[in-house]
């Protein structure tokens, strides 16, 4: 009797230990329109390429990828999440670019006990005391790339830096990360409105502050506009500009052009990382989409490979949450960035590189790795994560 009740209870919970799902439903929410659209589109295309490389499947299951555009709005993100959890009944969610949107939708996803594999946003909140057994970040913790630049700028001997970031969770993470390794003076620390595109007022303040270097975290169209206006204001020649890879990848280079030459930036990935999976990823991405991949694309691709490895390990039984979680934790896939593993808070432990924008042998402007800033680097919040 007891056993029957237990079985009935399990059946009610939709828990089916014997059978595997016949297809893998992935809910993909990302920013696919507006000035930050390039980021979401790259993540989507990277993920699609991973699925293509696995023969239209992930972990042996045919994939049903349900795509939604959050239009850069947390409210729209929440509506899409509700729909994907309730109506589409997805197994896994992924895709979100911006931390403020992720933080808005995360509670509903975790409450629904659905796994979220983050191909980008890695807010401090979800790395520390609000970490979740249903959350995995396959990219970085928000602070990491900025920490690398903070260390580089400090090592280079700059003593008076001007900092600019958008006023949202990842913007604060960014400047906190930078200052964790840069201990010198700051002649300005400016938070701009998220999505702001005109920086005339900020640039005038910056010029008057006379810093010896500028560090910006302005992803997508914000960074494109800032750098164009920085150059137009004649500041590029006077004060060197530093940023994380987000402000200096192919999407920005395509839009700004020659003005990007010589900019140092940081990333966990670059097109010139020499391993077979990365060579294949870069070549096929360019062949399929007609443009060079960004770090966002590499993260989308790796998210696909991670899901593939875990679904394969549980033989398609993604409803077995504990087994699936254990499989995700192993990160048993060949990341295009090289060595990759998860920390106890499900955030990466990995290397971070210094990149320089230069001309390659074909005369194209692109990033080149010129050094390693951190080896096996973990985030600063892992200690407060009790999982």
């Amino acid at each position: 009797m007891k056993r029957i009740l237990a079985a009935a209870a399990l059946a009610c919970m939709g828990f089916n230990p014997a059978g595997a799902a016949d297809k893998l439903k992935i809910g993909f929410i990302s920013t696919l329109s507006g000035p930050a659209a390039a980021l979401g589109v790259d993540i989507r295309d990277g993920l699609n390429l991973a699925i293509k490389h696995q023969g239209g499947k992930l972990g042996g299951l045919p994939v049903d990828l349900i795509v939604g555009d959050d239009t850069f709005s947390p409210d729209v993100g929440k509506q899409l999440t509700e729909r994907m959890l309730k109506r589409d009944d997805v197994h896994i969610m992924t895709g979100i670019v911006f931390s403020n949107i992720l933080l808005a939708v995360a509670p509903a996803i975790f409450q629904d006990q659905t796994f979220y594999v983050s191909p980008n946003a890695g807010p401090a909140e979800l790395a520390g005391d609000r970490c979740s057994p249903f959350f995995f970040n396959v990219a970085w913790q928000n602070d990491n790339l900025h920490e690398a630049m903070g260390k580089h700028v400090a090592d280079k001997g700059y003593r008076n830096v001007y900092l600019i970031a958008p006023n949202y969770p990842a913007g604060r993470d960014a400047l906190n990360g930078f200052k964790r390794f840069y201990k010198g003076a700051t002649s300005g620390e400016v938070y701009t409105k998220l999505g702001q595109l005109d920086y005339a007022a900020e640039l005038a303040q910056l010029r008057a502050a006379k810093p010896d270097a500028v560090f910006i975290f302005l992803p997508g169209g914000m960074g494109i506009n800032f750098i164009k206006q920085y150059n137009a204001a004649g500041l590029a020649a006077a004060v060197p500009l530093f940023g994380p890879g987000f402000s200096a990848d192919e999407d920005v280079i395509r839009a700004v052009g020659e003005g990007m030459l010589g900019m140092f930036n940081s990333s966990q990935w670059n097109r010139d990382i020499d391993n077979p999976q990365n060579r294949r990823f870069v070549a096929d991405f360019e062949k399929n989409y007609g443009r060079a991949p960004t770090l966002y694309a590499s993260q989308g691709y790796d998210a696909g490979l991670l899901i593939d490895s875990a679904v394969r390990a549980v033989k398609g039984r993604v409803e077995d949450k504990n087994a699936f979680r254990a499989a995700l934790r192993k990160a048993d896939f060949k990341s295009v960035r090289g060595a990759f593993r998860f920390n106890s808070n499900h955030y990466p432990i990995q290397d971070y590189y210094l990149r320089l924008i230069a001309k390659d042998e074909k005369g194209r402007l692109t990033n080149r790795i010129v050094g390693t800033v951190f080896r096996n680097h973990a985030d600063a919040y892992v200690k407060s994560c009790k999982m």
Binding site: G34, A38, Y191, K193, L197, R207
Partner: protein, 306 residues
């Protein structure tokens, strides 16, 4: 904080304010003369910017594309007025808001279908890519200086048109007492279409000027429309002079707020609180200004109706 910096921020405020004026001028005339709330004004700005980017790409010249985009947008605006909006003049404001809000959604989706979801790039003309020294010692982007020049020229031309021409007299008559103008036999149909076309052309001009500074993207009209409405309300509905003063006020308050409020707050608050409060307050400054104006002058600074 030195005088040079104040002057440079003043120029920035002027530049932003004059662009707002281009949008608010059309909005306030339509609102004042036709008593019509047109939320789709921002969509005309978006369409103007997209046409500008398309023409600039096709012709390879900013200067050829500019008049093309203005004429095309004016034609679209006039077609919209005579085809659809005309039927809404007799309805109440709620119907107008609903109908023109629908137009925003339709315009956004049409633009998405035609141009795709990604933002378009519109570059400033090569001749204006550098900097000039309006203020000695502070190089100023030449394109921004050009925008200021264009804004001032349009303001002067509009002023001349409203004050010294027959069309201007009709516009003023329509704004101050529409029924009286009607009963005196003014051909309002033609006047309305003309005013609407003029407003649309100014939208395209603003789109062309701001395109290289901002981004040509879906939804670009909505955020600036709100600010344009703030300008109209501050200036007084139907008044071009009010739109100009309101636009400059909003531009100055927004720019100086963003530039100096965080510094000011740091003077008497701990840094982390000042950093959190500064950008938020700066974003609200324009609306606080509007609330203050409405408190003391409920009909705006220069009400057109006596």
């Amino acid at each position: 904080m030195n005088a040079l910096l104040l002057l440079e921020q003043g120029l920035n405020g002027l530049q932003f304010g004059l662009m707002l004026f281009l949008l608010a001028a059309g909005l306030t005339l339509v609102f004042g003369i036709m008593d019509m709330v047109n939320l789709a004004h921002g969509s005309l700005y978006m369409i103007g910017a997209y046409l500008m980017a398309t023409f600039a790409q096709a012709t390879g010249s900013f200067w050829i594309a500019l008049p093309l985009a203005m004429v095309a947008t004016a034609v679209i605006g006039m077609a919209l007025e005579s085809g659809l909006l005309r039927k809404l003049y007799e309805r109440d404001h709620l119907s107008q808001v609903l109908a023109t809000f629908a137009l925003i959604l339709i315009a956004n989706d049409l633009v998405r279908m035609i141009w795709g979801p990604q933002a378009l790039l519109l570059d400033a003309p090569q001749a204006l890519a550098g900097t000039i020294e309006i203020i000695p010692g502070a190089p100023y982007p030449a394109f921004r200086a050009f925008i200021i020049g264009v804004g001032l020229a349009v303001a002067a031309a509009l002023y001349w048109m409203i004050v010294h021409t027959r069309v201007g007299a009709l516009v003023r008559a329509g704004a101050s007492n529409r029924e009286m103008a009607l009963s005196l036999g003014v051909n309002v149909k033609r006047l309305f279409t003309l005013v609407f076309g003029l407003g649309a052309a100014l939208c395209a001009l603003a789109g062309a000027m701001l395109g290289p500074l901002l981004a040509v993207q879906i939804g670009m009209g909505e955020s600036i429309l709100i600010q344009a409405f703030v300008v109209v309300v501050i200036g007084g509905i139907g008044s071009i002079r009010g739109a100009l003063v309101g636009a400059l006020l909003v531009g100055m308050v927004d720019t100086t707020g963003r530039a100096f409020l965080p510094i000011l707050l740091r003077g008497f608050l701990p840094n982390n609180i000042a950093d959190a409060l500064g950008p938020t307050l700066a974003a609200m400054a324009v609306y606080i200004l509007m609330a203050a104006v409405l408190y003391w002058k409920p009909t705006g600074l220069f009400p057109a109706r006596g």
